[in-house]
Each structure stands twice: as structure tokens, then as C-alpha cells.
């Protein structure tokens, strides 16, 4: 069938990478906006209410399922492309040059796999523990808190996050994760537009600039939260 042929063609596979990649970029923005509420100095009220809404609204649930699917697709196709491409290259040169391409662009699969490892740890730490609350209502690692905005008790994810970030090693791991994400986006953001054929001397410089800004600002936004928290307990 034409659609299967398209999705299996070289350009088709790259289109999958670019569309899922751009969707994930959008997801990062939404995720960051939510996380920034951790900085609100209200003992977690804003963040906990937000986390409750995010896990209980049917539309958001639907989007989050789509999100898992796209991350999975992006990772599986990305790793597949890596092996197909490596096989197409065959062997490498005795003399390696650094003069013709950026480091990020040549290491997208490595950076992506590290992001994947980060995601597993991240999900295990926050998401899984929150989900497990259903089965272990009395567990002490998941206290409840009263949400003023919603008028009932919600899981106190805020405490979960802040206690995690009391640990300097977790803070460091988180910061390294953001650095890796930054490199992936440094090449990925603009690359996705090129893959889609969206290139023109009028707007391509804008996309490249936007991509670099995105690659710095988004990971920086995520990084600010543990840094701010850790400095808070130090001083």
C-alpha cells in the first residue's frame, strides 16, 4: 500500500523522526510550564493541583497516551535508523576528521539513547511512584496534601520532587540529563524542518536561531528547578 511504502522509504522514515521529534518539542514546553510551578513558594499547592488535573482530565490523558506512543516511535525508529545507517556506511576511515560536521549531529542516536535512559529513571522516580499510590494508599513515601484550589486531597508530588532534589547526586544526574537534551535539540530542532523540506533563505535563519534558543532555554528552564531548590536548602 502507498502509505506503507511511504513510511518505509528513506525519506518517509525521516519524516516520522521529524514529526515525532517536533511533537516532543511541544511536549517539552508544556511539561516545563507545569514544572515551573514548583518554583511558586506555596508549599506545593499550585504544583500538586496541576499534577492532579494533568492525571485526571480525559483529554490530557488522551494526549499523554499519544505522547508515550510518539516517544516510543521516535526512539524505536531512531535506533533502527542508526543501525541501518551504520550498515550503509560499512567501515570508517583510519583518519577521522572533525572539520566537516557538528558533534551533536553525528551523535544523535547516542544522545537519544541517553535521553531514553534518563526518561526511564525519571518515570520510575516520579510517575511510577505516583501511580503506585493507588495500590499503596498508606505508603509513607507518598503523603497526601489538601488542595485549596480543588477542595480535596491530592497526592503530594511536590514533597516527592523536593525530597528527591535534596539528594545532590539526583540533582547532578538531572542536570547532566538536561545537558544531553540540549545537545539533541541543538541539532534536532532545525534538522526536523530541513527533513520536512521547510527551507528558504527568508525563514531558515530564523528557524536555526529559534532552534539554538530552544536548545538552551528549555533545558535551562528544567535545570533551574533543582538548582533553585538545592541553593534554597544550602542557604
Amino acid at each position: 500500500m502507498w502509505i506503507i511504502n511511504f513510511l518505509l522509504s528513506s525519506i518517509g522514515r525521516k519524516i516520522i523522526m521529524s514529526l515525532t521529534g517536533l511533537f516532543l518539542c511541544l511536549f517539552l514546553v508544556i511539561h516545563l510550564l507545569g514544572n515551573l510551578q514548583l518554583l511558586v513558594d506555596d508549599g506545593g499547592e499550585a504544583f500538586n493541583s496541576y499534577a492532579y488535573i494533568m492525571t485526571h482530565n480525559p483529554l490530557i490523558k488522551f494526549i499523554s497516551i499519544a505522547n508515550y506512543f510518539f516517544i516510543g516511535l521516535h526512539a524505536v525508529v531512531g535506533i533502527l535508523l542508526y543501525f541501518v545507517n551504520r550498515n550503509a556506511k560499512g567501515s570508517s576511515y583510519a583518519v577521522k576528521t572533525k572539520d566537516n560536521a557538528s558533534i551533536a549531529s553525528k551523535n544523535m542516536a547516542l544522545l537519544g539513547s541517553l535521553i531514553l535512559a534518563f526518561l526511564f529513571i525519571h518515570m520510575g522516580d516520579f510517575w511510577l511512584k505516583m501511580k503506585m499510590a493507588k495500590w499503596y494508599p498508606d505508603a509513607d513515601w507518598l503523603p497526601l496534601a489538601q488542595s485549596e484550589a480543588l477542595g480535596h486531597e491530592v497526592i503530594d508530588l511536590y514533597v516527592r520532587v523536593t525530597t528527591a532534589f535534596d539528594n545532590i547526586w539526583l540533582v547532578l544526574a538531572y542536570l547532566i540529563g538536561q545537558l544531553i537534551l540540549s545537545f539533541h535539540l541543538w541539532h534536532g530542532f532545525a534538522s526536523a524542518f530541513q527533513t520536512l523540506g521547510l527551507r528558504h533563505k527568508k525563514y531558515t535563519p530564523l528557524i536555526s536561531g529559534l532552534g539554538k534558543a530552544f536548545a538552551i532555554l528549555i533545558p535551562l528552564g528544567f535545570a533551574i528547578i533543582p538548582i533553585f531548590h538545592y541553593l534554597n536548602i544550602l542557604f
Partner: protein, 248 residues
């Protein structure tokens, strides 16, 4: 000047190759290929097998002379084929490592010579326009805007040398294929069969086992004709158009 050469020697497609070291006395006015000629004469005098490498025009227009010099296709000079690279780019006592292009779809024939007929098959799949033979038509019968003809001409300067494939960590032939699609697509005569041509040439490129473009853009840096990756974006647009475009 005295040079140390480390050259990849391989008897045939299926033999295992390896590097051999040679000393050669060259002149700074020689081209890189002339320096290899000197080495080969030396080897013939010593009753040894000369190094096989491809060359034809020696003026930068045929594309056969591509080899990987110190990790870079066609050597270190921007926008220059191996035959146009001159020994003044090197100095006395330099060591130069010379390897064949490495890509699955360009199997080694012998030493530095590789089989690039996969490129020919991509062209055969659609890199032409269908016209009746007969008298040459009047050159200016169809007016073409200058910017458009310049873009077509820039794409048409691709000499099919395979430096793009050689430079690509994915062994992708997208710069070559995109240049060959573009130089026709940009002109009225080529527009006629445009979408069919794109899908056929891309299909052949995939069939030959070339890799997929990760937009690393090393190809653009190493291309002796400085073909722009703009062409790859055009090919992708055209490919999407061939699938999702309206039927007219």
C-alpha cells in the same frame, strides 16, 4: 619535497586490504594525482604493483578522481577535486594517509578505485527528460527566469564524484540524488516528469542501500562543487508532493 604516504592497498573486491607506507619525492607544482603518478613510476621501476586509482579529465569536471585524503574526500581544500589539489598545500616531511571512499554501496574494486555504478542506476531510474531526437530546439524558445536558471545550473554542476557519500557518516547519497533531481525540476523541460522522476530516483537510491540523511551536512562541506543541501530540502518536498500532492 619528501612525503610519507600511507596508502590503502587491496588486491580485489573480496581481499582484505591494509595500509602500506611509501616515500615519494614531489614538487609543489604537481597536482595530487601527478604526485601519485610519480609514486607509480617508482613502483613500476621496483617491479611492484602500481596503486590503482581512478582519474580521467584531471580538470575537475569528470568526478572520477575522488579518494579520501587524511579523512577528507578530495583532500583538505574547499571546493576542489583531488586532481585540482596541488602539492603546495603540503610541506616537506608531511605524512599523508590515502584511503578509498568507504560506503556499502560503493564496493572497492582495487586499492583506491571503487565501483560507483549505483550512481549510474539512480540516474537511469529517472535522471533524464523524455524528448524526441531531431534538430536541437531554439535555445531561447522557452524563457526562463535568471534566478531559476542559476539554481538549476548550480545543481547541474554535480560531477557525480561521490564525495557526499564518502563524507556522510550514514553513507547517504541524498546530496547527489537531490542535485540530480533539482537541476531538472527547476527547468520547464524537467517539470513535466518531475514527480514521477523523484519517486523513481528515491526508490532506486533506497534499493542501492544508501543510508538516510541525518542533516549532518558534511556532504555540503566536502562537495568539490559546493552543492547546497537546499537541494535535499527540495527533494524531500518533491517526494512528499509525489505522495500527497493533488493529481492535478
Amino acid at each position: 619535497m619528501k612525503l610519507n604516504l600511507k596508502i590503502w592497498r587491496q588486491k580485489g573486491p573480496d581481499s582484505t586490504g591494509g595500509f602500506e607506507t611509501y616515500m615519494v619525492e614531489a614538487d609543489e607544482h604537481m597536482s595530487f594525482l601527478e604526485m601519485l603518478d610519480v609514486l607509480n613510476e617508482q613502483l613500476i621501476h621496483e617491479k611492484k604493483e602500481p596503486v590503482a586509482f581512478e582519474h580521467d579529465c584531471r580538470e575537475g569536471i569528470c568526478g572520477t578522481c575522488n579518494m579520501v585524503i587524511d579523512g577528507r574526500p578530495h583532500g583538505p581544500q574547499q571546493g576542489t577535486t583531488t586532481c585540482q589539489l596541488h602539492m603546495r598545500a603540503y610541506k616537506d616531511g608531511d605524512t599523508i594517509t590515502i584511503e578509498p571512499i568507504r560506503a556499502k554501496s560503493f564496493p572497492i574494486i582495487k586499492d583506491l578505485a571503487v565501483d560507483r555504478s549505483s550512481f549510474d542506476r539512480i540516474i537511469q531510474a529517472g535522471g533524464y527528460i523524455s524528448v524526441n531526437t531531431g534538430q536541437a530546439p531554439d535555445a531561447n524558445a522557452i524563457p526562463i527566469e535568471k534566478d531559476q536558471s542559476s539554481r538549476a545550473f548550480d545543481a547541474a554542476t554535480c560531477i557525480g564524484c561521490g564525495a557526499c557519500v564518502a563524507a556522510c557518516p550514514n553513507g547517504s547519497a541524498m546530496l547527489f540524488t537531490a542535485a540530480k533531481i533539482s537541476h531538472l525540476a527547476l527547468l520547464p523541460q524537467g517539470k513535466v516528469e518531475h514527480t514521477k522522476r523523484t519517486s523513481k530516483m528515491v526508490a532506486q537510491m533506497d534499493k542501492e542501500g544508501f543510508g538516510m540523511c541525518s542533516n549532518v551536512e558534511a556532504c555540503e562541506v566536502e562537495c568539490p562543487k559546493e552543492i547546497s543541501t537546499d537541494n535535499i530540502a527540495r527533494m524531500n518536498r518533491s517526494f512528499l508532493g509525489s505522495i500527497f500532492g493533488s493529481e492535478g
